[in-house]
């Protein structure tokens, strides 16, 4: 199967090159047949990459340890699901997975969006150009089908840190997000190439962008959840370069999702939207570059390889081609409209874009600053969480404020009368909330500002929901029905608001981290320790083997006051394939108020157990916020009745 896989990948590379060249040549020479063969190449490419992927999956599941990739990332004792996840656990496999997703998306685009006849040749060429880069890497630099000289009896096994359900979902969702942004990028390139620079390319890709954003969001959330339960330090975001690399395209894509509305409604920000999607695409590739170049140390890094310069070259080439096209098209990109007022919803969107891009810039600058410092000063420095927290918390709070102001402002121009009328209720609720929090003893300035802005934003959004429902109720609908109809009639707007509510909950959860507390305790069997309202009694430790590890599990009974509320079992495991690296499996008791998070740091020779006990307030709000955010995205994604027909008929009427 390895030979078939190699052959398929090599052929996919050639077909990708053909898929890149044929539509461009076809357009240049006016030969439609050549253009059409470019679309056929997209299907052929997907088929070939699917064959290669199937070959790798077969090798993984058959435990073909003669395959270097299989020997590096699986072992005999690895379960089915983690064996499946080994597909994307290593460098070559993850690149193949990327190529498979990309070619699969390309097929969907050719199949579903062929109505955009003028754009499609350039869309195909861009997608196949990107696929050519990835299949080139798989063909010439790192093959998932390389053989080892001698077949080992067993594989090295999957890194125990990756043996967590979160890791089964985190990389695929992350990749779905990264790869998904290639589609709007390809349409943007096509729009520039064909001079079809109105909002057609934005309408054609709105759902793709939203889908990519949704998956990237979930990729980040799964990563946070994995870090929280698996890494055992009590946090979920360490501002690691690769975490940052996922946040940057998320921020620019979020800005893009907002600013495209201005182009659709007012025919403004055409250049800005193109710039945003170009950067979103480049930043998506940048994350992959970081993990594979070794230029920055990261917990996510793959083994060092020669891929860094190739990725850097690809990013540079993409940026050069995109910005040259943009520069050439600048005269055709003049906006038809201008701002009517600085106090308007358009204006708030502009500032929201500014803050989001500012946040992306601050993360980018912090991530690459060690390299800059070494180049300029010749001094090695680190840029870690203390820096990122201090610089980005104010930016995040400014964003929260803008989220609250936006629903209060009318499109075009908000009169002072309407503005004061809209602000009154949210401001009143906010003042009462802030006073209550201060009275209850909330003294941390950052947390107080964060919670206050969260209340303001939630109040302004809920007021907008309420007013909309009341207008419908005046036509005889009951309030719940009016509320449901309101959302049903404008998925995009109210889905978006729901996403904002999810973000508020996420912010609240993050603000809760400011009140985390921690202590260490060394306990003998039967001894207890107290922390805040909790008393923890150490009942002893058990050691037992499992199929893949030697497990040491401590038992702690947790009391709140006199009531026994939980029995927790933090573990410290030695995996058979990675004995040099003991793994902690934390025990967590979650409530709406806080998480009780216990790490078994070690066992002493004298029978004592060393625990780190952390109380993380409001953690659950983060996960609930993530679910609300997803629900909002799904609502915003859901087609409204007749929308697709309207878009297509509009295109067909306008098409030459």
């Amino acid at each position: 199967m390895g030979e078939i896989g190699n052959l398929a990948i090599g052929m996919a590379f050639i077909v990708s090159l053909y898929g890149l060249a044929a539509p461009l040549l076809g357009k240049a020479l006016g030969r439609q047949q050549l253009v059409r063969s470019g679309s056929a190449a997209v299907y052929a490419n997907f088929l070939l990459v699917t064959i290669a992927s199937a070959a790798l999956l077969q090798a993984l599941l058959a435990r073909d340890f003669g395959n270097a990739y299989v020997a590096s990332y699986t072992s005999k004792d690895l379960g089915f699901w983690y064996t499946l996840s080994a597909f994307w656990a290593g460098q070559a496999g993850s690149l193949l997975f990327w190529a498979w997703l990309l070619t699969g998306f390309a097929v969907l685009v050719v199949w579903r969006q062929s109505v955009y006849q003028e754009l499609m040749p350039y869309v195909n060429a861009t997608l196949m150009g990107t696929a050519a880069f990835f299949t080139m890497l798989l063909t010439f630099v790192t093959s998932p089908f390389a053989r080892v000289p001698f077949t080992p009896a067993d594989g090295s096994g999957l890194n125990p840190l990756l043996q967590n359900p979160g890791m089964f979902f985190h990389p695929p969702t992350q990749y779905l997000g990264y790869v998904g942004f290639t589609i709007p990028f390809a349409f943007a390139i096509a729009a520039m190439a064909t001079r079809r620079l109105d909002d057609e390319w934005i309408r054609a890709t709105r759902r793709w962008t939203l889908m990519a954003w949704f998956f990237l969001t979930w990729g980040i959330i799964f990563g946070m959840q994995w870090a929280y339960v698996e890494l055992g330090w009590g946090g979920y975001w360490a501002w690691d370069p690769v975490e940052n690399a996922s946040l940057m395209p998320w921020l620019t894509a979020t800005a893009f999702l907002h600013s495209v509305m201005i182009q659709e409604k007012r025919d403004m920000l055409k250049v800005w939207n193109l710039v945003l999607i170009i950067f979103t695409f480049a930043l998506s590739i940048f994350g992959t570059f970081l993990t594979r170049s070794g230029v920055l140390s990261s917990v996510h890094s793959f083994a060092l390889s020669s891929m860094g310069p190739l990725f850097f070259g690809f990013i540079l080439l993409s940026l050069i081609v995109s910005f040259v096209l943009l520069f050439v098209r600048l005269p055709s990109l003049r906006s038809a409209a201008e701002l009517d007022s600085l106090v308007s919803r358009e204006s708030s969107f502009l500032f929201n874009n500014l803050v989001l891009v500012g946040a992306a810039f601050s993360v980018f600058l912090g991530t690459v600053f060690p390299l800059l410092s070494e180049a300029v000063r010749g001094v090695k420095i680190s840029v870690g969480p203390p820096f990122f927290n201090q610089v980005n918390v104010p930016i995040g709070l400014a964003l929260l404020l803008l989220m609250g102001l936006c629903p209060l402002l009318a499109w075009r121009k908000a009169s002072s009368r309407s503005l004061s009328r809209n602000v009154l209720l949210p401001a009143g609720i906010t003042l009462i909330g802030a006073a209550l929090m201060a009275a209850l003893g909330l003294t941390s300035p950052i947390a107080l500002v964060a919670f206050t802005l969260s209340i303001f934003t939630a109040a302004s959004i809920l007021q907008d929901f309420h007013r909309g429902a009341m207008v419908r109720r005046s036509h005889g609908e009951t309030y719940p029905l009016a509320f449901a109809h309101l959302i049903a009639r404008n998925h995009r707007r109210y889905g978006g608001y729901l996403v904002h509510i999810g973000v508020i909950l996420l912010f609240a959860g993050m603000a809760g981290s400011a009140f985390s507390s921690e202590r260490e305790a060394v306990l003998k069997k039967g001894q207890s320790t107290a922390m805040k309202q909790y008393t923890l009694r150490y009942e002893g430790a058990n050691q037992y083997p499992t199929k893949s590890a030697q497990v040491t599990a401590a038992t702690l009974t947790v009391f709140n006051g006199g009531d026994r509320i939980a029995v927790l079992n933090p573990q410290r495991n030695f995996h058979n394939t990675h004995r040099e690296q003991p793994m902690t499996e934390v025990a967590i008791r979650s409530t709406w108020k806080e998480d009780l998070y216990i790490i078994l740091a070690g066992l002493g020779q004298d029978g004592t157990a060393n625990f780190r006990i952390i109380i993380n307030p409001l953690m659950m709000w983060m996960w609930v916020g993530s679910v609300v955010l997803s629900l909002g995205t799904v609502i915003a994604f859901w087609p409204e009745r007749g929308e697709a027909l309207r878009n297509r008929s509009r295109y067909l009427v306008e098409a030459p």
Binding site: G232, W233, G234, G235, A238, D240, P241, L296, S297, V299, E338, L339, S341, L342, S347, L354, G358, F361, S362, L365, F369, L372, S373, V376, V379, I381, S382, V383, G384, P385, P386, F387, N389, Q390, V391, V393, P394, L397, A398, L401, W411, S418, N422, P445, I446, R467, M470, V471, S474, S513, A514, F515, S516, S517, R572, Q581, M583, T584, I614, N616
Partner: protein, 153 residues
């Protein structure tokens, strides 16, 4: 726009003057220094269950704390031993100020651009376009105005 701008400035000030803290709360100095094992994380968040470099630096910090040294003295001693790379955040001087203030400078420049362009657009006189004849009856128009007043989109 003056009040939001002042509020943002106040938030920026609060953020920059707040004591450094990691996400997992106050872990003392362990959150302020980077682990030297190559994980790229702080001493408080190093992912290794057993980590020699982390335990060594934590031991040094604990010893200096027992000697009654201040956080500033401990920081100076660690920088002298390991170099600036041990610091979780760059110092606030010289070239490093670019990292600290660059993002705010960029945001401020962007805000100035939006305000400048926006003001020039807003102040530009626009041609008056006569309104098209409406098909609405006076009753429908009254109702529309009433609803628009109640729900301004």
């Amino acid at each position: 726009m003056r009040i939001p701008a002042l509020l943002v400035l106040a938030i920026v000030y609060l953020g920059l003057t707040a004591a450094p803290h990691a996400h997992a709360g106050d872990r003392g100095l362990a959150s302020a220094f980077m682990c030297q094992c190559g994980c790229g994380l702080t001493l408080a968040s190093c992912t290794h269950a057993s980590c020699g470099p982390r335990d060594q630096v934590l031991g040094e910090i604990a010893a200096m704390e027992r000697q009654g040294r201040s956080p500033e003295q401990i920081t100076a001693a660690l920088v002298a031993t390991y170099g600036e790379v041990i610091l979780g955040a760059p110092t606030r001087r010289g070239f490093n100020l670019l990292a600290w203030w660059g993002p705010y400078g960029a945001i401020a420049a962007g805000a100035a651009l939006i305000l400048g362009l926006g003001l020039s657009w807003v102040r530009r006189p626009r041609p008056v376009v006569p309104a098209a004849e409406s098909d609405l009856s006076p009753e429908q128009r009254n109702r529309l105005e009433r609803e628009l007043r109640a729900f301004q989109d």
